[in-house]
């Protein structure tokens, strides 16, 4: 592992390449000139104090916000400025800090929406219930059950979302994002509010996903979680990247310590 460089592992394929990415809301510079790469198969985390721009980063990359400057390349293709559904179609999945689950749908149906890009039936085909769509529906249902099984929630498939505790809701969010069989999965504060055993379960899940060929990208607050999971960490503060490196490097970096102002890392 190269130390102190700007790329975690220059030998691996670069999945996501971000260069000089900026975003401001009115007068607030939420993100300025963020530059780094995510190689395939790595587990990279982004940390930073509150308001550092971490969620903004995910929102810009996933297409919820338009960037004000910079480049975003996914598998070599320029995706900056694409709307969210187009970004999703290219293989980038994400979860939300506040879950954003679909309350009118059951758990399984939520995950099936995640599988939306896996289907092709249009309005007319669905409306006339043609055999093609019936077959596709069954396939999507099976795929969704698989995703639910991966996070261990098959038993809750037909429950309404409102009945689920926080930990399970977060897992449904992950299962839903898995539905589109993404190459890159951006997790926005996945460990937020979770109990210790749930965090362990999450770590095991992430390792499992990496084995299956998925590249997770984790935005997090929870230090022990991040330190034990990632080999490479990006640190953001007030919209700027202030450090990048292995957990040891980041832990001892002066700028990082200053940014957190005495917080235990």
């Amino acid at each position: 592992m190269e130390g102190g460089g700007s790329v975690a592992d220059p030998r691996a394929d670069v999945l996501l390449d971000v260069h000089g990415l900026s975003k401001h809301f009115g007068g607030i510079r939420a993100m300025s000139g963020v530059t780094f790469s995510i190689p395939k198969g790595s587990i990279i985390s982004m940390i930073g104090p509150n308001g550092a721009g971490k969620s903004t980063f995910i929102n810009v990359v996933s297409g919820i916000h338009l960037p004000d400057g910079g480049e975003v390349r996914f598998q070599g293709e320029d995706i900056a400025g694409l709307p969210a559904h187009a970004v999703a179609a290219r293989g980038i999945g994400r979860t939300f800090q506040l879950e954003e689950l679909f309350g009118s749908l059951s758990v399984l149906e939520n995950v099936m929406v995640g599988c939306y890009t896996r289907g092709r039936s249009g309005m007319l085909v669905c409306g006339f219930s043609l055999p093609f769509t019936v077959r596709e529906e069954k396939r999507i249902r099976d795929e969704a059950m698989e995703c639910l099984a991966m996070v261990g929630l098959e038993a809750r498939a037909h429950d309404p979302i409102s009945r689920l505790p926080l930990g399970e809701r977060k897992l449904v969010g992950i299962a839903r994002a898995l539905g589109m069989k993404p190459r890159l999965l951006m997790l926005d504060e996945p460990a937020g509010g979770l109990a210790a055993h749930e965090v362990e379960k999450l770590i095991r899940l992430i390792h499992l996903l990496v084995e299956r060929g998925l590249t997770p990208f984790i935005v997090e607050h929870n230090m022990p979680f991040v330190m034990s999971l990632s080999r490479w960490i990006i640190v953001l503060d007030e919209g700027r990247k202030i450090a990048e490196g292995s957990p040891e490097e980041v832990r001892t970096n002066e700028d990082v310590i200053k940014a957190y102002l005495g917080e235990e890392i």
Binding site: S62, H85, G103, S104, L105, V113, R176, G179
Partner: protein, 329 residues
């Protein structure tokens, strides 16, 4: 799979019931049931937009009216036979709803409601003002009856089967749609547009598609309506119809597809009862007076039974295990 067998069973019962009614009932009942099919069909579309898709469009009566005027107008001038006029009307409405929907559907909830409400009034007033084209306030008269080839639909019974066939066809189509991938996508964006688009749903495009689809259905129903009545007036397609449809959606419950149809059944028969028994007591009966009862009923239902009749039935029959409604935020 007991769910689907139960659903199929209910469908068969419904269709059988509808089919059997004209065999035993008189002209009056058949006529009322005709209107239930038509307004119920409209209410179902509106309920879908309002409650399941979260699209607060109040323009539904407009599509109904435009369909009626286009097909009726073409038929009365001998330009197109009723069946063709109906299709032309639907296509016309499809285009208009596309042009209007594209900019308007970007508006947030209540702003969309205001804008579509404005549209409703504008079209109603315009239809009344463009006398030469539309017959002005009196509307179009002497519209020929619906005919397919040599077979002319003359009796109430004919229109009963026609209107119910159309209503049930729309209902069947919408049921398939909402139970499918597209239906899930629609329900998803009404809960969270951000999450839905992050899952690959092209939300603006899908909103427009649903909008156009329900508009075209309303247009077809409007065509059947005008060939049944043989005349049409701008006053029919304005605010009073909107209130009536919303009443049906609220009373029946908009979270399910059949709710508004049930609501239509209740509202129309309730109105007949009011006219029959209270007509003598009240100095006058008219749409506005009916509105007193329906307004009060809406308020009561919204406060005490927000899910409407269908919501209550669902809880009763499915014991609350079926997912209906949103968690309170």
């Amino acid at each position: 799979m007991s769910g689907t067998w139960r659903t199929k069973f209910l469908w068969i019962i419904l269709v059988g019931f509808i089919f059997a009614i004209p065999l035993v009932a008189g002209s009056y009942v058949i006529s009322v049931m005709c209107f239930i099919a038509m307004f119920g069909g409209l209410a179902v579309g509106m309920g879908l937009l309002l409650e399941q898709a979260g699209i607060f469009s109040l323009a539904h009566p407009t599509w109904f009216g435009l369909g009626a005027y286009v097909s009726g107008g073409l038929a009365v001038r001998g330009i197109a036979p009723p069946w063709l006029g109906s299709i032309i009307g639907a296509v016309f409405v499809g285009l208009v709803s596309y042009v209007i929907g594209a900019p308007l559907l970007r508006l947030k909830g209540y702003y969309l409601a205001c804008a579509t409400f404005g549209l409703l009034i504008i079209v109603e007033i315009s239809l009344a003002q463009l006398g030469s084209l539309t017959g002005g306030h009196e509307g179009l008269m002497g519209i020929p009856p619906f005919s397919v080839g040599n077979f002319v639909l003359e009796t109430d019974r004919h229109y009963y089967y026609l209107s119910w066939a159309l209503c049930l066809a729309c209902l069947w189509f919408l049921y398939n749609l909402m139970g499918s991938r597209m239906g899930r996508a629609v329900k998803s964006f009404s809960d969270s547009e951000v999450a839905a688009s992050s899952m690959g749903v092209n939300v603006p495009r899908l909103k427009l598609k649903v909008f156009i689809l329900t508009a075209m259905m309303a247009s077809l129903i409007g065509s059947v309506y005008t060939f049944y009545l043989r005349f049409t007036q701008p006053g029919i397609f304005g605010f009073p119809l909107l209130v009536e449809l919303v009443t049906m959606v609220i009373i029946g419950g908009g979270k399910t597809l059949y709710g508004p149809l049930l609501g239509a059944f209740v509202v129309m028969w309730l109105r007949e009862l009011i006219h029959m028994y209270l007509g003598g007591l009240l100095p006058r009966t008219s749409a506005e007076v009916d509105a007193i009862f329906f307004g009060l009923l809406i308020i009561v239902i919204l406060i005490f039974m927000p899910g409407g009749l269908a919501g209550w039935i669902d809880r009763f029959v499915y014991g609350g295990r079926r997912v209906r409604g949103r968690p309170q935020s």
